[in-house]
Amino acid sequence: MSGPSDDRAAELRQLFFESAQELLQALNADALHLEQNPSDREIVRSIRRTVHTLKGDSAACGYRELSELAHEFEDVLALEVGPGSPTELAEVALAAADVFEAMLASYREGTSVKPADGLRERIQKLAQQPEATKSRGRKKRVARSLHFAWSEYEQLAIRNALQQGRTIYQVSVLIDPHCAMPVAGRQLVHNALAAAGEIFAIRPEPGASHNSSRTIEAALASELSVQQLQGKCHIPSIVAKVTVEALQPARSRGAKVAAAPSPAPPPELAMPAAACANEAPESGTTSESPPPAPTAGIPSMENILRVDAERIDNVLNLVGELIIGKSMLHQTVAEFSRRYPKEALRNRFSDAMAFQSRVLNDLQRAVMKIRMVPVEQLFRRFPRIVRDVARQCGKDVELVLSGQDTDLDKSILDCLAEPLTHVVRNAIGHGIESAEERVKAGKEPRGTITLDAYHQGNQVMVEVSDDGRGIDVEKVRAKAIASGLLTSAQCAELSETEILEFIFRPGFSTAEQVTEISGRGVGMDVVQSVLHRLKGSVTVESRSGQGTRFRLKLPLTLAIIKALMFTIENRLYAIPLNAVAEIARATEADVHQVDNHEVLQLRNQILPLVRLGHAPSGPDSLHRKFFLLVTTAGDKKLGLIVDGLAGEEELVIKALDDQVVATELVSGASILGDGRVVLILNLAAIVERVSRMRPQDAGAVVSGLLFSHSEYQARRSTPPGSTVVEP
């Protein structure tokens, strides 16, 4: 290929990786489909189209190993007699998808590609079966190997060059069968061709060592005449025969190409068969039809724009700044109105403000919508996972998907893949029983796993349910006691749901027997920690013998939240508004201490408290009033003691620099209209931390999580209010 500039190549590769991912998804889906409907030839053709596109694209990017492998696979698929049994073909296709993916990964990382001999062998085996029985298949293979069709990109390049009025030659060079060093010979021919003009396409690709083809075919633009070209390529004792044919830039043909994007092979680029005349009739009968529309799987491209996610993030950031600007303006106008209450301009100001904020809201919503992607993108990988895991475990499992069109922020979706996979694997591995067991229990022999997604208020729920044996609560309970997390007395007080929560405890899950006997386990804490990071939660419901349901609750987006702001010891913090159930007032006298924790009676409920600041000391501290934020983290209620409320605002979340100040206690920061920075607390992590904390002194209360002891001392020795002012 002609060498595009490095930038261009990098861009091309990026595009390739993206489209390749889609192709692999399609390949997986088709293979699974084929497994279900083994007799459907159309699926085989679809697989072939996919593989063909992958081959062409990877060749265009210079990923030789991938394109060669895809090429071999495509060859097998092209056999009309039907390669092997369809189920076996499906197997190989799935394996191929895995190998291709691994190759893509190593290309992307720039590491060397592992040879895929295993797959190659399987492909070859697949090809041999029909070949052994029907010689026709074999001949066809030969014919094909002499008839390389240029890939889509190459055709395009050739077409463009033709339109520019350049002379394009199709050259076919037959290497002398007696040549001692065919590999070196091929290289020489390559060199000669490269020197003669600009090569648009060449087969085999330079350096393709395993390929034993004795013919080199190329399309190149050159100033030379046919004879000169022939002379250049004719290297004595290496080349046996050279055929050169000039392609004519025919108007009528060009029009045909433009008009016929699909089924028919681009006629003007079909190789002239002169070089291998004896093969011609056969290749004619094989109806080698190069794949129709290699664009299969990419729906109506005209209206879809592929944009780097970073660019959208950029726009979203700008919108965020605008929102900050809006609240700045808001404050200024309020100040202005206070100062000049009679000024007539006031009304015009506020009209303009109202208009601006309406447009801003629309803009924000529009940008958010760009980031939203249907959950389908996540779900579509599961048929494959379920199939593989079920096979590994020797179980029969059906996957039911619903709610695929539920929209979710792309960044959340990306983070969700791993935990969701985990839950699904667990459900198959531990939840679903073996077929015999199921029949014994009076169930269908085939287990069902359901993946569902739906909106609930401002949140998205993703559910994974199975109809398996459920989690054995007693086993979890016993385990919790055995590992010292609970005393049996405590345990008796906990509800089943609370006991089940233990499976999310780190370390708990990895413990031996629970995983084997009752199911769930390994790495459930990972699932929970990812969900916490996403400001979501995960809950589990289980009925013995009937199944288990994991419910992942996620915010619609990570970028902008409605938040309640409050102060603790003169510092401003915020929590998501939808975590706040109610706000109450109380005095220190209402607070009681149970063990290490403070509680408060709110109406008829005992509410555990979290004191993020420090307990007041001094004679009249009992009369001090505070605000109580009743929050819900997961399904637990919790009272947050705060000193003052600072209002409710839409906050644009900005991440803290991971490297330097990252802490799980803070999920992000935001900038207020007056330029102040407010930290958004991560309630789930705070609750988690508080429950782990043990004060040194017996009888002391957990407090001051956000403030270190030393700082507290320092703060007390300086008058309040001077804490955050620097010259």
Binding site: K654, T663, V666, R676, A714, S717
Partner: protein, 166 residues
């Protein structure tokens, strides 16, 4: 052979340090800093740099200086490393210094150990020694220290800015 290094010099305590001008984003006055819970002591917190949240390290604490003299000359050097912005509180910042490349020596081996392995070289400028800092190394060291502290589940010390302000 008259290659010159362009260095932004700044004082921390009695010493002069320098960072390559290419890694400097800007120099701002010390503004309001929001402390972040759970961070090591030398992390001052985060600031709002025209709509960006930038974490700020107090280099004086980072280099183990006990007495902090806060005055009007204090600055925050906003440096860029690996695409991130980080603020460094310094006692004062000076002009751009042009140091001929041959006047820069490698850091003494002693520095390799201990907390000073972020010093990549010593530059001589008008009779003064200027320690050239490698931002990536300086910031990378924030990692391990933090971990051991936060592991034991206790709230970790935040900077005592109240005291610093006095």
């Amino acid at each position: 052979m008259s290659r010159e290094l362009h260095i932004v010099g700044f004082q921390v305590g009695r010493e002069t340090y320098g960072v390559p001008i290419a890694s400097l984003h800007e120099i701002v006055r010390v503004t309001e800093i929001t402390t972040v819970p759970d961070s090591p002591e030398y992390i001052e917190g985060v600031i709002n740099l025209r709509g960006k949240i930038v974490s700020v390290i107090d280099l004086r604490k980072r280099f183990g200086l006990k007495e902090n003299t806060n005055n009007r000359k204090n600055r925050i050097l906003v440096v860029e490393s690996n695409g991130r912005l980080t603020g460094l509180i310094v006692d004062s910042a000076s002009d751009v210094l042009k140091i001929p490349a041959e006047d820069v020596e490698g850091a003494p081996a002693v520095f390799e150990e201990g907390g000073l392995n972020c010093v990549t070289g010593l530059g001589k400028y008008k009779g003064r020694l200027i320690m050239l800092l490698d931002m990536n190394k300086l910031l990378a060291q924030a990692g391990p220290k933090r971990d051991e502290k936060s592991l034991n589940g206790k709230p970790e010390g935040m900077s005592a800015r109240g005291a610093a302000a006095k």
